[in-house]
């Protein structure tokens, strides 16, 4: 169980960079490689085909696939969270629920407004929406994959039985969704947790490192939440701008048809130009979305997971101190000393164990974060440059052509 710790530097052994998942590889480890080879989207559920390749002896076979649904991923995540042994680790955040509502709504609106626009406009918008839908779908799959991969790479997690079951068990895991009572229980627990956090946050930690980390994480978490929101809005707006180009280009096109002066050539040209630039702009926006927003979002979740870790640690610390107090009390009363001692012992162990793990986890977290940001930001900048150049070229061409036509028109006898 503990050899994972020896490999701490190799904490995150990711598979080779799959095109779909863009997680950061700190190390490479082929002993357990997972990917989502296929995904089907049915009415409102997505079925993922989880494909595992492993050389570890613990598994029955060396290569196998199972079909899993989103709920099962969540189940797995919850198992990890509940497990106290993993208290010292940052649990990889659960993948977000596949959300196609937005796209579905837009598609509906488009369908309703079909009568108002021309045929080509309608098909174009439909294409756009379908592309959007596809992109969302791909993103979801990627998220799930990253989740699994992080689990696999983590030295401790990969040995978990639940994880193994998840990967191997052919039939449906028949994951029972939390029924009302459980949900309520969970809700109350999270409430108490947040209250606790508030109380504990005032507690000054003896350890420098953790104190710093706590401050940093809390602040970072807030800010990254803000950034994510803004980035999301920005990409959405960008997409809307690109979409409105469609209307513009079709409007100009129809204007050209009813215009019988020399303006119609101009209109046609401009409409074409808009059409092309629209594609580019849409690409820009989706790239932004992918590189920037997603990164931010992911690390938002990661940060909150790290915060949870810290919380657990402080909780353990509090327990430890409580146990100490109890012990003292017991010693004073000379009653239940044994129990108190044991309790204290346990608490102490737990606390120390947790602290160690937490330290290493947090450091890795930092590395991971920096690496991921670096990679994504660099890619983002490069893509933006490429697109900007292309757009620039497009517009220049268009302007030159228009000028040509203008000169030709003037040369003609009026």
């Amino acid at each position: 169980m503990m050899d994972g710790l020896d490999d701490s530097p190799d904490l995150l052994a990711e598979d080779e960079n799959k095109p779909r998942t863009e997680s950061v590889d700190l190390t490479k480890d082929d002993t357990l490689s997972i990917d989502i080879s296929d995904a089907l989207s049915e009415r409102d559920r997505v079925k993922f085909t989880v494909h595992t390749k492993t050389t570890l002896p613990d598994f029955r076979e060396s290569e196998f696939s199972v079909v899993r649904q989103h709920e099962e991923f969540i189940w797995l995540h919850d198992r990890f969270v509940e497990n106290e042994e993993y208290g010292g680790y940052i649990i990889p955040p659960a993948p977000p629920r596949p959300d196609f509502d937005a796209s579905r709504e837009k598609l509906q609106k488009l369908g309703e407004g079909e009568g108002t626009m021309t045929k080509e406009e309608f098909t174009k918008m439909k294409q756009e929406l379908e592309a959007e839908y596809l992109a969302t779908f791909k993103k979801t799959v990627a998220m799930h994959e990253v989740f699994l991969q992080r689990l696999a790479a983590h030295p401790a997690f990969r040995k978990d039985t639940n994880f193994r079951v998840f990967l191997e068990y052919d039939q449906d895991l028949s994951v029972r969704l939390k029924n009302k009572k459980e949900k309520l229980g969970w809700f109350i627990k999270s409430m108490s947790q947040s209250v606790d956090e508030v109380l504990l946050s005032n507690q000054k930690d003896a350890d420098e490192f953790f104190e710093q980390e706590k401050g940093f994480l809390v602040e970072y978490h807030n800010r990254i939440a803000q950034s994510t929101k803004c980035a999301d809005r920005m990409t959405k707006m960008h997409k809307s701008v690109a979409d409105s180009y469609i209307k513009l280009s079709t409007g100009l096109g129809s204007l050209a048809t009813c215009e019988n002066t020399e303006l119609d050539k101009v209109f046609n040209k401009v409409s074409e130009c808009f059409e092309k630039s629209r594609k580019l702009e849409a690409r820009v926006s989706s790239d932004e979305d992918l590189k920037l927003s997603d990164t931010l979002r992911y690390y938002l979740r990661d940060t909150s997971a790290a915060k949870d870790l810290l919380y657990r640690r402080t909780r353990a610390l509090a327990d430890y101190e409580n146990a100490n107090k109890d012990l003292d009390k017991a010693r004073a009363k000379n009653r239940n000393v044994q129990q108190a001692e044991q309790a204290q012992q346990r608490a102490c162990e737990k606390y120390e164990h947790l602290s160690e793990l937490a330290k290493s986890e947090l450091q890795d977290f930092k590395k991971r974060r920096v690496g991921a940001f670096r990679k994504n930001l660099v890619e983002l900048a490069e893509l933006e440059i490429k697109h900007a150049k292309a757009l620039n070229q497009l517009y220049r061409n268009c302007i030159a052509q228009l000028k040509e036509e203008g000169r030709a028109a003037k040369a003609q006898p009026q």
Partner: protein
């Protein structure tokens, strides 16, 4: 000012002409004097002749209510035509308001000889330059004073020459007469009457019916008060030759030109040679006053450019080559009102004025200094500038004395009728309702292919423009939001980089924040450009199309009126015949009077 002095004589002189026309129409004996007069205009020193003619006119007046004459009308017009062709060369490049679309708002004027007018334009263009000197001579011709004719009579006279001509074609002349209510009109009318005879060349030959056109052409050159009167008088008299290529064309021609206006405006100006170009700028919006009485004032700077040899010569009508006045928004609206009243019935398209925005103005009145109010002010300023520039490009409206007043005079009488809540406002509302109703009820068989085609085109264009405008607006809004959200993102990234421990990453993030800020600027700029260049342009054109529709509608109304008048005339004639049969002589005279009245209206 020489110009100011000139008009009055012109008008005076016109009166005798009108009288002559009257005579021609109603008593054959009068034709002779008229012809005399008509032959004379070619040579300017015809004043004495005119005087004589006027005397004859007066003599003829007695026979005014003699036999009805319909035949002479034809003769007259032909003579007029001759005169017109002769005089065209002499005419100065006065812009005559050509009836854009034949509208006979109040009285159905006989349709213009569109065909005739159409032939003229090319001729006119050539003669534009020569016209100028001739015009100056016109005033001379109009020196004779004529007793003020009763407008009604004059209108009858004026109309009579026309009726024979192109009954089918519609002209928009008569309405103008009714429009005039100022005292000067009478003078003008008479003057114009004279003009007609003397300056027959003014109206292109074919457009002798054009005499009837309510062109406010002479107005530009005349003193401002006269100008308003002139249009009404114009219909009676021949039009002064329009220097611009399209002056004499029948309303349809004019409308054609107007429709294809923007593309040809430049060409027209170049061809006419003596065109004046006004460079108008609206700037310096300032808030005057406080509280509810506050208003925005704008400085209007005008500079006259001449396409001729001398740059920046002063247009004779303008007092100085360049001037600056302060105007407030209701002044602009007042100008638009006046121009509409004068020109819309005759079918000219008046550029639409910016709307009165209660919301925007109250914001300013409340002296809120936020970005939205400054944006609003900027938008409004640009709108006003475009409005004035459009007017100045328009060959006819450019010469309108009201317009010139607006640009020159330091103090304009407060245009109260334009305030949002006022008696005039309510009246306008009611009129609007009536108009809409009539739009629905009046159906006109479109006999003119050209009009039908144009109307369809305009409708289609309007639709397209509206759609395009909507999508451009959406684009602008999205872009603006993009700019705003980019700014927010930049801020949050900056904060993030602050809290980031890893220095390289922190640096990278802060640089990203800076770049995003710059991007935001670019986006906002682009949005502004989109808006001012594209969206406003589209909106303007939608407004112009609306104005075109109004003019089209006027045409329909005038047709309708004309039909009504014709029907009534027929009825009156029937009544008269009946009276004749039954030998009720006493009623005959009465009936005949009525008949004449309606005939006049029909014209």
């Amino acid at each position: 000012m020489a110009d100011d002095r000139e008009p009055p004589p012109l008008f005076d002189d016109e009166k005798p002409d009108k009288k002559e026309e009257e005579d021609d129409l109603f008593a054959t004996p009068n034709e002779a004097p008229k012809e005399e007069v008509k032959d004379e205009p070619a040579s300017l020193p015809t004043e004495p002749a005119q005087d004589k003619a006027s005397e004859d006119l007066f003599a003829a007046d007695d026979d005014l209510f003699g036999d009805k004459q319909e035949g002479p009308v034809e003769v007259d017009t032909s003579k007029l035509r001759r005169k017109l062709t002769e005089d065209v060369d002499d005419l100065s490049p006065i812009e005559e308001p050509k009836p854009l679309i034949p509208t006979a708002a109040d009285s159905g004027k006989p349709p213009q000889s569109d065909a005739a007018a159409k032939k003229e334009p090319p001729k006119e263009k050539e003669k534009a330059k020569e016209v100028k000197p001739a015009y100056k001579e016109e005033p001379a011709n109009v020196s004779t004073d004529q007793p003020l004719l009763k407008p009604m009579k004059v209108s009858v006279d004026l109309h009579t020459p026309k009726p024979a001509q192109n009954m089918q074609e519609e002209s928009a002349a008569p309405p103008q007469l009714e429009v005039v209510d100022e005292p000067p009109p009478e003078m003008d009318i008479s003057g114009e009457g004279e003009e007609v005879d003397l300056d027959s060349p003014e109206t292109e030959g074919p457009s002798s019916p054009a005499k009837m056109e309510p062109d406010s052409d002479s107005s530009p050159l005349e003193a401002p008060p006269m100008a308003e009167v002139l249009p009404p008088a114009k219909p009676v008299t021949e039009e002064k030759p329009k220097p611009t290529p399209a002056p004499r064309k029948p309303s349809m021609e004019k409308s054609k030109e107007e429709v294809g206006y923007t593309s040809f405006a430049q060409i027209e100006e170049e061809e006419s040679g003596d065109q004046f170009a006004l460079d108008i700028k609206v700037h310096d919006p300032g808030k005057i006053g406080d509280g509810m009485g506050a208003y925005m004032s704008y400085k209007v700077t005008t500079q006259c450019l001449d396409f001729g040899e001398e740059k920046k010569t002063s247009i004779p009508a303008f007092r100085r080559p360049s001037m600056t006045v302060t105007r407030r928004f209701s002044d602009f609206l007042g100008l638009h009102e006046k121009l509409s009243q004068k020109h819309v019935h005759i079918g000219r398209i008046v550029p639409p004025a910016p709307e009165k925005s209660v919301v925007g103005m109250t914001k300013i009145k409340m002296s809120k200094e936020d970005t939205s109010s400054t944006e609003f002010v900027e938008k409004r300023r640009a709108l006003l500038e475009r409005f004035l520039q459009r007017i100045s490009i328009h060959p006819v409206l450019q010469m309108d004395p009201d317009f010139r007043d607006f640009l020159e005079q330091d103090e304009l009488p407060r245009a109260t009728s334009t305030s949002a809540v006022s008696g005039a406002g309510v009246l306008r509302l009611i009129k609007g309702v009536g108009d809409t109703l009539s739009k629905v009820t009046i159906k006109m068989d479109e006999s003119d292919q050209w009009f039908e085609e144009k109307q369809n085109q305009v409708e289609a264009l309007d639709q397209q423009l509206k759609k395009l405008h909507a999508s451009v607006e959406a684009l602008v809004t999205y872009r603006k939001e993009l700019g705003i959200s980019t700014a927010a993102f930049a801020k949050s990234t900056a904060m993030l980089s602050n809290s980031e421990e890893h220095t390289a990453l922190s640096r990278a993030l802060s640089q990203l924040a800076e770049v995003e800020e710059k991007i935001e600027q670019v986006h906002l700029e682009q949005a502004d450009n989109d808006f001012f260049l594209l969206s406003e342009l589209l909106k303007d054109y939608i407004g112009i199309i609306q104005a075109i529709r109004i003019v089209f509608h006027e045409r329909v109304k005038s047709f309708h009126n004309w039909q009504n008048a014709q029907q009534t005339l027929a009825k009156k004639r029937e009544a008269e015949a009946k009276f004749k049969q039954t030998g009720k002589t006493d009623k005959i005279a009465h009936a005949q009077e009525e008949i004449r009245e309606w005939e006049g209206k029909v014209e």
